[in-house]
Symmetry: C4
Subunit: 442 residues, 4 copies
């Protein structure tokens, strides 16, 4: 059978020669890219696409990487003595201070399911931050092989994608960013409106709402102890914003990574699918299998670095969804409160759903080559093809939460069913509490 | 081994010749069918069997297809400018108007778990309708390959089925239709009886029940705002009927599609089973494997077009079953109320069960060939047979709800167990409410 | 490799001759058994072992089979005109009468979770009975192939088992029978003691407890309408006993069938295990694979006939366990009440556990050959061995409840976890009811 | 292909000779170890590493083994007439006495979910003890093959591990021991502080807390019936300590066994991983596959002996975690009570988590060789490699709880989700109880 294949190729020697010439050009190009950083910048690598997000994360103290703007992924490294690390330390310090103050207040006043939210929010923010710092430490070990695979998959025979990775990540990131910002603004609008209405209705002869009072209420009595000046107002607002950012960035980052990986598996599948009903030599199958192994190894690398963050993200989302749902039957006073509540609940649910759907697309793309493999005629059904089939069939490819669960559509369905349980039970535990509106003025 | 097979066939050359003559006749017939639409009409294709239902769906604005009565599946296409699309738009408009009125009433009066049912019913009806319109847009891409497979499987060597597909679909559809109609009538009977008894008992000196009052109560105060004339009565009744139809048609359609697919997998399995303990050439195995791949591709196509509808159907059924079960311990006033309640509950449960059982039959039929494959003697255990076995073993064939869950018997069991949980919890949440009968006259 | 194997066997021709002589003797014996019914009686077939239970079932109207005591399994057939069918009809009539009376009483008095038990008990008894009649109709199609496999597996090279199947089934059946009888007696003891204590304490100047009053109370006011004579007392007691028997026989029967099947899979595994580290020809592997297919086909046959009974048994057990557990915190008056309650609860739990453990042993025994197969040296790793391995690996062998769930240890664990949920929720729903003892005399 | 491999080895004959010389040395060493017990002592076997724990268990009557300090694992046997058995009997007797006294007290006073804990603690301690005695009876059948595998895997070509098994087990055991001891001491501190504060506050004119009163309260009125002297004080303290030890030792033992097994699977994987991208002869693959089978057989042996203990441990942990969580919202009087409660809850959760994580590492280590196997080039993809791949892929390797569930990360996640359910429900059942502090002085 192999001899026949060889004869066939011998006859088409002219065609082959031109093919070889093309291949040599591609190899030269790849070599140039791998060695020359400037030409690398022309390619639609994941490194180039994720770079803006790394910068953003650095500003908020999450990814302390040196040379984060560099074209060369090998230069983007964790450095202990860098501005990034300094930012991180600063944020951890300020955040830790805030968290401790909140905890102290909580212990004084007595714990219940509703006032614990603030502490959970800030302490989970700190844990997320630490996890991202740990990710930053291993970032160069992750992005360098990824870049290597990108260089392979951005040249023929891999077809270019309709939309560049950079464009996809930009659109996704911006959309999520805007939604987050809208949620944050709506939160302030809702809480300020509440405060001002209460103030105007309950205090006779007052027409102007004092900002200081609102500040003090919003930031948990912060200005009882601190002088009321611009710096501390800025500090308070900034800290709130940062922690909201951290909280949303975690999910966004998982989504971006998933898109990046799914893209490569999709490209791989597209190449295999283009081979359907064509004569394919064993060498090509071998190359495909080797590339598949490369992709799997990349997947393992991502998994090893990200799985704790995925677990944290899921637990976090479940907790905050449960918490939001708990007050679903509570009557609210003003339309803006309803607007904020429903917007933020749907945003949370949508974000969680997006994380699962994007991550599950990796797994689904990884199974696509199977279709072509079953169509390979028996004459060309060599050991290489068989092993490739076996490999695709038997290996689970996809993100997991510390391997406690895998991000697939089915596990998402199970998680939602469990969430409905929990919700029913929480509602029952909460049933005896009075859900009517409290008096406006105490 | 292959040489032996060839020798064997050489000896039986006479027999072979007649076989070939037969095969040629079959191929000619097939060719004629594929090219000539009138002879296609003689065949028991799925297109012919589902056609009446497509017509019905078109009348109710669900499947806006042009040439829906045509013999040729290629002509049955979605057209933007057609009567079907006009009907769909009209229904969506009327339905949307009704839904908005109901929602407005709901928000005025305050939401609770019981008065939300009407809004859910109408809005889910709208969503179902939109999903079916989307299905109609891709219908020709689905039915043309299906018809191709039908032509293959309606000729030898595939054995004809005992009962034609058309007959099966007709019986199933009519049975479900009658049960739906009975449920709908029972609903009116129950609600009219309630109204008239209340009217006769509470209003002194009255012997005739005014229809207008009943209409107004039944259609949520519709005639407070609208003039009371024949057109609006018809509109009200018709809208109610249409949405009940849509709601039931979704499940019926999934059942019909499942029967159609299961039939083909069953026929395929029957052919394979007939080969047990017989000498089968590699060419036949190859043909079988290719047909299996064709069936799998059809399955994928159906899955891609239907999975959202399946998910919608399951969520819908679970919601309405939970809702019905919630009032299972509520005392009712008249026997007809009990009759309606139990009939409609059992109908709902039975319909859900039928959807799962029919859909799971696809999966079960797809596994039948394995038995014969394990019986193939080792002399004839070629690579083709091995790959065929592998293919049947490793691929999951069956309908899913957006791949969040698969319609198998085991997932049905799991869903029922979950339903029992939810029910227990809902009963508990509902436990404090008084389940006694309210006063008849207020 | 095969040539080497042949040479090897050529050298040991003397040894082979004696082997062949032995084999011929065995084949002769088998043939004799298959043709001569009297010699069949000497063998430890499943038919012989289950026969006493079939007789017992016939007496209680469950298995209307003709020639149930015959040695020849082919004669044990369902016959419409036989004493068995007459018994069945009679029991169904009497049972139906009782069930209808109970249902009528229930509807009169109002339904709740506690007084519905009696109706569920009797109507499930009727359904079980009908299922066993349906099993009886297919019994000869089941037992004849089973007997064929028994004849194969009771001769060398299959090793005889330490304890005969008959002995095992006898011990299991008798143990379960005795436990059931004890439960039944304890029930009467407990209820009679309650009645007599109440009678003696509440009625002044009475020293003898009237049996008639007890009878009337026990059999739900039966003697209010019927004359109080010996026949009707006997009828009442007998009906109660019969339905208790039916209820327990179902589980016992599943256990016995499981033991029978597990035994054969165990014997098969033992033979394969004895081949470890020995030179095994391809013919032997082929024979083993064919026997494995025979066993699998038997399993499918049993599954097709029994799966509804298995489902019924599990649902039944879950219902009665939940029901018993519901009253676990209810205070009881006398020690004998406690004794009955705990004995019957533990008996129920133990019986359910035994059903699962016995049934799961089939699956476990079916996986045992894998160990030897992985030890086969590569020189002897022929296609036969490979296919055998594949077959054992990829086929699920075991009983299921209408394929909604499989009887394995893991599903048992899941079922128990679910039972704990249900129990917690039932306890909560029941929590508001007063669990104190009611006044002794009303 | 094999001939080519042979030629290749023929050319490198010189190299081979030196290899063979090395191998012979290794075999000699192994032989010496297997025969000479003293040289065995030099090796880092599991027997040597677990020995101290066996001694400890013997002192507490759990593992009645003779010659427990012996270097030779074959001498460590269960003997009926030994000091170990005597200790075990004594403990069972004393424990049984205590358990019966507690049960009697419980029945007198009425059972509820809170006072049943003591009886569950002592009776589960007895069951654990009996299970360990049963393990001791099969210990020599387990440790002798384990030692055999240890001898194989402690010599080249298996690489030595960075940290010796003995060291790992020592660290793990000591850490867990210290944490247990701290928990035990904290318990006494908390209960003594409670008693003394109550005594000092409620009894006027008293400055010294009588130890006897505390003793009597702590040991459930033990000294009401017994003379108050040193022996009985010692007995009481010792029994409490022993049962706490037993309870913790069970989990510790599972962890130690898991570490031991995971280490060997890890070493095996390391050897396979070192073969990546190298030319490996079929003989080496065969040796590897045989060693893999040896490891699997060891796993089966451990599984058969330990699975009941694993089940017991999990059920035990779930019960005590649920029980602890039940009082999570109960107000406590003193900081030391809070310290004890939270320390012991976190200790319990951490211990359960450690059991699952350590046990799941076995499964994970067993899958590591797959990566290398997929990298084997097609020229060297012999039947041996294929079978090895198949073996690693299709066999589940890991500890289970009587095969009802497997100790993997995913089942741990499921168990935690279930625990949250149970907890919610228990909290609800408990909701009506008053969680305020009772009066200090009654």
């Amino acid at each position: 059978m192999r001899q026949a294949a060889r004869k066939h190729s011998f006859n088409n020697s002219e065609q082959l020669k031109s093919q070889r010439r093309q291949q040599r050009t591609v190899i030269d190009q790849k070599w140039q890219c791998a060695s020359n950083v400037d030409s690398l910048e022309q390619l639609d690598t994941f490194h180039r696409a994720i770079r803006p997000y790394l910068c953003l994360a650095q500003v908020f103290g999450m990814m302390p990487l040196a040379n984060v703007l560099s074209n060369d992924p090998q230069l983007v490294k964790f450095q202990l003595r860098s501005s990034g690390t300094f930012f991180s330390m600063l944020f951890l310090l300020l955040g830790g201070f805030k968290t401790m103050r909140l905890t102290a207040k909580l212990i004084e006043g007595g714990i219940n399911a509703k006032n614990i939210v603030g502490v959970v929010f800030f302490s989970s923010g700190m844990i997320i931050c630490l996890n991202f710092i740990s990710l930053a430490r291993g970032w160069s070990r992750l992005i360098v092989p990824w870049n290597g695979i990108d260089i392979i998959m951005l040249f023929p025979p891999y077809a270019p994608t309709k939309r560049s990775l950079r464009f996809k990540l930009l659109i996704t990131g911006c959309t999520l960013g805007c939604l987050t910002l809208a949620e944050h603004c709506l939160y302030y609008a809702s809480s300020y409106y509440n405060y001002s209405m209460q103030f105007l209705n309950c205090q006779a002869n007052v027409t102007r709402v004092p900002l200081r009072g609102y500040m003090n209420k919003e930031f948990a009595g912060f200005f009882d102890n601190m002088p009321y000046n611009f710096i501390f107002i800025f500090y308070s607002f900034f800290l709130n914003f940062t922690f909201t950012f951290i909280w949303n960035f975690m999910d966004t980052f998982i989504i971006l990574i998933s898109i990046g990986l799914a893209q490569r598996f999709q490209q791989f599948a597209t190449r295999v699918l283009s081979l359907a009903n064509r004569h394919v030599t064993d060498a090509v199958w071998h190359e495909l299998r080797m590339h598949h192994i490369l992709l799997c190894e990349l997947m393992d690398l991502v998994e090893a670095n990200m799985s704790h963050i995925v677990l944290l993200s899921c637990l976090n989302n479940i907790y905050f969804i449960c918490n939001k749902l708990l007050t679903i039957f509570t009557k609210l006073r003003y339309p803006i409160n309803y607007a904020y509540f429903w917007y933020s609940l749907l945003f949370l649910l949508g974000r969680t759903c997006t994380v699962f759907m994007c991550a599950s697309r990796i797994h689904e793309a990884s199974l696509l080559p199977l279709e072509v493999l079953s169509m390979v005629p028996s004459d060309h059904w060599t050991e290489e093809v068989q092993r490739f089939t076996h490999q695709v069939n038997n290996q689970f490819i996809g993100l997991s939460g510390s391997r406690l669960f895998y991000l697939t559509r089915q596990s998402f369905f199970g998680m939602m069913a469990t969430l409905v349980y929990y919700e029913f039970m929480l509602l029952q535990l909460d049933a005896k509490n009075n859900n009517d509106l409290p008096a406006l003025c105490v």
